[in-house]
């Protein structure tokens, strides 16, 4: 197992290295540059050239890349061209928001998707199955921003049940310590702050979780139906085992494997979906940061962030692979 992990980690190095080169070149192929973003309407050719010199953008590309790589290897993700803030510092402020959102969406997708999938699998092609199929098709086909705005309109603007933006209500004066809104609210010990932080999570989690919900539901359904037709399930029933026991011990334990794979793969999709969700819900996470950094041509920020994203994605995939071994003792890594 250890050898497997080491091999995977070493294998990730060329992937990340190649990605860093592609990213570096692609970003610089985009028209425009950070000097213009800094200057706005004051971007005369003279001032633009002056700022490009300060930022080192007038140097040959390979020099810029080597400089970037050397700093990266020293663990320095660089600083924003626009506001001078270190990428690592801002990441620590903004990543907690994305983690919370991703966890919220996963809880929504898995917590609802697995029971729905099992429900649908109980009577394949029955009316319950039909409803679940329609719901999951809806979830997978509706764009995140449409769903997001609709949810806000109904539950925020019309009903006033749930807040429309952000991670917490600034009027409550919750000190930001960890930048995890829920943890910060728990730290205050005030019930209103805690309720507030959870209520802010509901709508964005649903919006971001809708696609994974649909996928988890479908995969669970298919996997359960698949396993339910196996001989050992029939044997278990023939032995006279209670239906619940058959379900839990014999069907679900075996149906888990594809479901776990899909959940793991969804994490990458959730990070991508966070970009949209964070914009719609004015969520202070990494997704909305990427958007503004791309708009400002803040190359260093975009490069470093996407590399971090990629590393997380590779890491999550590794975790998923490792978890197979626990879910299915027949799988052995060497």
């Amino acid at each position: 197992m250890l050898r497997f992990i080491v091999r995977r980690v070493i294998g990730a190095i060329p992937v990340l290295f190649g990605l860093s080169i592609i990213l570096f070149l692609f970003l610089r192929l985009l028209p425009g540059d950070p000097a213009e973003a800094i200057l706005g309407q004051h971007a005369t050719p003279e001032l633009t050239a002056q700022i490009r010199t300060t930022l080192g953008l007038d140097q040959p590309l390979y020099v810029q890349y080597v400089n970037y790589l050397v700093r990266l290897l020293h663990g320095d993700f660089g600083s924003s061209f626009v506001d001078g803030k270190s990428v690592a510092d801002t990441f620590l402020v903004r990543f907690p928001g994305t983690i919370e959102l991703t966890i919220g969406a996963l809880i929504f997708a898995v917590g609802l998707g697995i029971p729905l999938g099992r429900l649908a699998a109980r009577h394949p092609n029955g009316w319950v199955d039909g409803i679940v199929t329609v719901v999951s098709l809806f979830g997978i086909s509706i764009p995140i921003f449409v769903l997001g705005y609709t949810l806000v309109f109904v539950f925020g603007v019309q009903l006033h049940w749930l807040p429309a933006l952000g991670q917490s209500d600034p009027r409550l004066g919750i000190p930001q310590v960890t930048h995890f809104a829920v943890i910060d609210a728990l730290l205050t010990g005030r019930p209103n702050a805690i309720i507030d932080s959870f209520s802010h999570l509901v709508l964005p989690s649903i919006a971001l979780g809708s696609i994974p919900l649909a996928i988890v539901t479908r995969i669970t359904r298919a996997s359960v139906i698949d396993v339910a037709n196996e001989d050992y399930v029939r044997t278990a029933r023939a032995k006279g085992l209670a239906e619940r026991r058959v379900d839990d011990r014999h069907i679900m334990r075996n149906a888990w494997l594809p479901v776990a794979t899909v959940i793991g793969l969804q994490v990458g999709g959730l990070l991508a979906g966070a970009v949209l969700t964070e914009t719609v819900f004015s969520w202070n996470g990494v997704g909305s940061w990427v958007v503004s950094a791309i708009q400002n041509h803040d190359y260093i920020v975009v490069q470093s962030l996407i590399l971090i994203f990629a590393t997380i994605f590779l890491f999550v995939n590794l975790i998923v692979d490792i978890s197979y071994a626990f879910l299915n003792p027949r799988i052995r890594y060497s």
Binding site: T90, L165, I195
Partner: protein
């Protein structure tokens, strides 16, 4: 009506809190900001209404939606609207603007407007006394001198790059600065000595960029010499933005919000802040999200909303910000000398022909655009400047007249292939003077087709080269605009458009009129406002004879707020002070 429904714990909690902030006994309190501070409220486990119930004026927290995040917490280093919007609450300069106006200069930290020497080279200010910075140190002449000397001495590199306004107003840093010296002969007198007279000095100093900050705080954090990536003062990670204003900087969470709290010791007690705290939400970039946040109560005031959302906002009970005098001009740029993007020789365009320029000017139905795209919050320009600007002169602009336009075009005698033209507009951007660039471009193209042009619409990303291609003279016909830095004729006519650089006309238009440049140079160095204004008037007279560009619109971008917000005074340049604002449920 907006907040009428209840039905969840959250709504209940919100109401409890609204009630807390709402105890409206308008008596000044010694330390309201401490009461509102989160640590005090967090001390008790129960949702302690008593702790939060402030006895200070109307008190409470106002949540304001900005268009984006601040860039730096050192106002001298910023040139973007979001940073300035916050800075205006916290720092004050020698002079400022009467609230609601764009150009009415009043003394702020100065006791009165300065004495100007006859040769226009020396400005002598007498300062107010007894004012303290937010860190408790004294405001005095030495502090003023310290700040102006500091800006002038900014090192080449990122400090100079970001201190755009100092360089633009004074013509450069160090020895290049037109500000020869600032003297502080005694604690309440400051003398500015210029190399040449500078008629835009006073109005430009109303910008928050020239707000006076505490020398003690600046020195403690080495804010003058530290490059920006390590500059804690500028990054707002320490004691930052230490000014004298009615609000004090509290914290800034990157990408999320900036918080300022009431200054309990504000020197101008008659105009002390009524709110305990303002939170500026920095992440409301999307116009739909912003409108929904207003409707759902997440924010109380949005600095701007899309003109397309004004009708919806009104119908859901929101108040629309009246911004009064416009401080911008959207225009159709016509370039007489197209610069080659690859660096070759410039080529003359059809717009070098004055008749073509007049034909374009007469073809445009400006009022039609205003009705369609600006929710009526705009006026057709009567000159190149907005009407409230110093040095403005109303001119006889060509009226919308299709037949006159056709006649002008016929007079120009263009061959058929020359009537095929490209019109550039920016994508992925909303500007105050251009809320919907594509639709505006389509409408203009329609009007130009009506007089015989064949128009191809072209676009580039605003952030992806549009600005530099426009200012670099790479577009023949293009939509552009200017938001005032300060409401002076020089800022529009000279800085934005017609000032010559390196002995050549601005590349945007290639309008080669040396007389205009001479007049503007004289106006900039005029020794009295009257002399300057007379010269700026001549420049506008020459412009209307030559029609180098077509001003299309002076807009007043709409904002919106919920009805419990009182006392907000909008201004066309968005220099808006929140010390007059209160929350009254």
């Amino acid at each position: 009506m907006l907040r009428a429904r209840t039905g969840s714990l959250l709504a209940a909690a919100a109401i409890v809190f609204a009630a807390c902030g709402g105890s409206a006994t308008p008596s000044p309190s010694a330390a309201p900001s401490q009461q509102a501070s989160p640590s005090a409220a967090a001390a008790s486990a129960a949702p302690s209404p008593s702790a939060a119930a402030s006895a200070a004026g109307t008190g409470g927290t106002l949540v304001v939606g900005l268009d984006g995040d601040m860039v730096f917490a050192d106002p001298s280093l910023v040139s973007d609207g979001n940073s300035l919007y916050v800075a205006n609450q916290v720092v004050e300069g020698l002079v400022g603007l009467t609230p609601g106006t764009i150009g009415d200069v009043i003394p702020v930290l100065a006791a009165s407007l300065p004495k100007i020497s006859a040769d226009g080279k020396t400005y002598t200010f007498t300062l107010r006394t007894g004012i303290k910075f937010h860190d408790g140190s004294d405001f005095n002449a030495a502090a003023v001198k310290f700040n102006y000397d500091r800006w002038k001495a900014y090192a080449k590199g990122d400090l100079q790059d970001n201190a755009y306004y100092y360089g633009a107003v004074f013509g450069g840093f160090g020895d290049a600065s037109n500000l020869a010296s600032v003297d502080a002969p005694d604690a309440t007198t400051v003398v500015f000595n210029f190399k040449t007279p500078q008629s835009n000095f006073l109005v430009s100093q109303t910008l928050a960029v020239f707000g006076i900050q505490s020398p003690t705080a600046l020195q403690k954090d080495k804010a003058d010499t530290t490059p920006l990536k390590d500059n804690k003062y500028a990054q707002g990670q320490g004691e930052s933005m230490v000014g004298t204003g009615p609000f004090m900087f509290k914290d800034w969470v990157t990408g999320d919000h900036v918080t300022v709290v009431k200054n309990p010791n504000y020197w101008d007690t008659a105009h002390a802040a009524q709110l305990d705290q303002i939170t500026f939400q920095a992440n409301l970039k999307d116009s739909t999200a912003k409108l929904q946040a207003l409707q759902a109560g997440g924010i109380d005031l949005a600095e701007t909303i899309s003109p397309a959302d004004v009708a919806t906002a009104k119908s859901s009970g929101l108040q629309i910000v009246d911004r009064g005098q416009s401080c911008n001009t959207g225009y159709l740029g016509m370039n007489q000398s197209l610069q080659s993007a690859s660096g070759g020789a410039a080529t003359p365009t059809i717009y070098a022909n004055k008749d073509v320029r007049f034909a374009v000017a007469e073809a445009l139905n400006k009022q039609g655009y205003i009705d369609a795209f600006y929710a009526g919050a705009a006026k057709a320009p009567q000159s190149w400047l907005p009407a409230g600007t110093t040095g403005y002169k109303a001119e006889n602009m060509p009226a919308f007249d299709v037949n006159a336009a056709k006649a002008s075009l016929a007079k120009a005698g263009l061959s058929a292939d020359k009537l095929k033209i490209d019109l550039y507009y920016p994508s992925n951007v909303v500007r105050p003077y251009m809320p919907d660039p594509k639709s505006l471009a389509q409408a203009i193209a329609g009007d130009l087709q009506a007089i015989g042009f064949t128009v191809a619409l072209k676009t580039e990303d605003w952030h992806g080269g549009y600005v530099s291609h426009a200012t670099g003279g790479n577009f023949p016909l293009f939509l552009f605009g200017w938001t005032c830095d300060w409401a002076g004729a020089d800022n529009f006519l000279y800085t934005a458009w017609f000032g010559w650089q390196n002995g050549k006309p601005n590349l945007q238009f290639g309008w080669n009129n040396p007389q205009v440049n001479t007049l503007m140079t004289q106006a900039l160095q005029a020794t009295s406002p009257d002399a300057a204004n007379a010269l700026w008037a001549q420049v506008q007279d020459l412009a209307v004879q030559d029609m180098p560009t077509v001003p299309i619109v002076n807009s007043t971008p709409p904002g919106a707020y919920v009805s419990k917000v009182h006392g907000f005074v909008g201004a066309g340049n968005q220099t808006e002070l929140f010390n007059s604002v209160s929350i009254q449920p």
